[in-house]
Amino acid sequence: MSSPDEPLEGAGALDEARFERAVAARKAAGHDPATSLCAAGADVLELTGVGIMLSSGPRLECVAVSDAATGDLEAMELMLGEGPCHNAFRTRATCFDADLADDRAVSWTAFREHALAAGVRAAFGFPVVVADDCIGVLNCYRDCAGALSAAQIADAQLVANVSGSTMLGWQADAPRDTLAWQLEGSGGHRVVVHQAAGRVSVQARVNIDDAMALLHAHAFAHGLVLHEVATDVLTGRLRFDV
């Protein structure tokens, strides 16, 4: 962590080559490509967790996380529809919350509560901009409060940019109309959640968006993460019959 009186710098210490080495190290340790991007991002930026969301239509979809806890938090952020990721995506600008425990803050109160319960104290969202298009967000989570230095901001934006172009590179090599295999596995829980939404839409006789809302509402009401609820639906332990 940088001390407050450290001089601000325009550019960070990180360069593409160093980040790529960190990604390679994570891959060598057995992580899949997308997880490696996030985990390496957390390594070089000295953060607790990193996640990448990409836009799918008007919505964001989590495609990669550094670890399972970050995946749960991202799912929560998507479910609540509030948090730095949404702001960063909407405004295409970096969104900072240096202290989620700050009582004076009024933004994303629900996300704040969940993040703190998960041990996260600060959250930052960086737009992933490729070729002038904002294609998603890089989310950074840290277990201690404190603003990012200018150098850290520059570093995180570099991680966001490189991750974005890496993912586009994967997609460019993928067969037409299919998602790049590198983006299939990580991000954790979304496959299960979408399958569960499909089941719930039949059980409750509602459209898919309402089915997703029912899953969210149930998770929220019972203090569960979306993935748990979805798993219960898929195993048949939970049904939404009308």
Binding site: S55, S56, E61, A131, Q171, L179, A197, G198, V202, Q203
Partner: protein, 246 residues
Amino acid sequence: MPKEREVLRALVEFADTFVDDYDVVDFLHRLTARCVTLLDVDEAGVMLVDADRTLRYVASSSERMRMVELLELQHEEGPCLEAYRGGQLSSSTTAREADERWPQFGSHAREAGFESLAGIPMRLRVNVIGALNLFSRRPGGLTDDDREIAQAMADVATIGLLQERAVRDGQIVAGQLQTALESRIAIEQAKGILAENMTVSVDDAFTLLRNHARTHNLKLTETALRVVSGVLPAASLGLSGRTTPS
């Protein structure tokens, strides 16, 4: 010398063009017009390579030049093609030299009244994206100064064009990524819907979905979207798609 200032102004103007969205063809027409005013040449033209690595006509300083360039492409010989293939300047200083080097194209150039022909590669490091043609009615070829200026203009234009291509390619893939992601979501949702409706596993549900798509010559994504929106009832997939009893 005012020419230096003019050259500088032209280069700054080109560099300025690249800041915002710009029209590539319009920019290249301006480049050819600038070449004619700044250099001791009568006509200028640009050819660029397209996605399938074929050189194509893009811009010229006049209609007559356009015709000559098209003939150059048609006969697959001439200074522009040589500059593109070799990545370096290709020039002839008399009509006779052109005739000897490019038997078919040379006579067309001569008939159009050109004596000196030069092709300047448009290149950034190993990446050659096309060539700039500079033709003159007088023999003798480009002066050393003009050659340097022409290469500088070609270099600036190349950087701008590559940048524009990178942006455009990136946007295309970004769009494909978004579509693929949406498709992925729709397929998972459809699997859930079918699994629930048909009382089968999600894997079997996927088989039903895929079989229906194949049988009806539909894309998998399209089939999934129809299931999700309710246009395609789950029951109709069971009949056509079930190949193995479950």
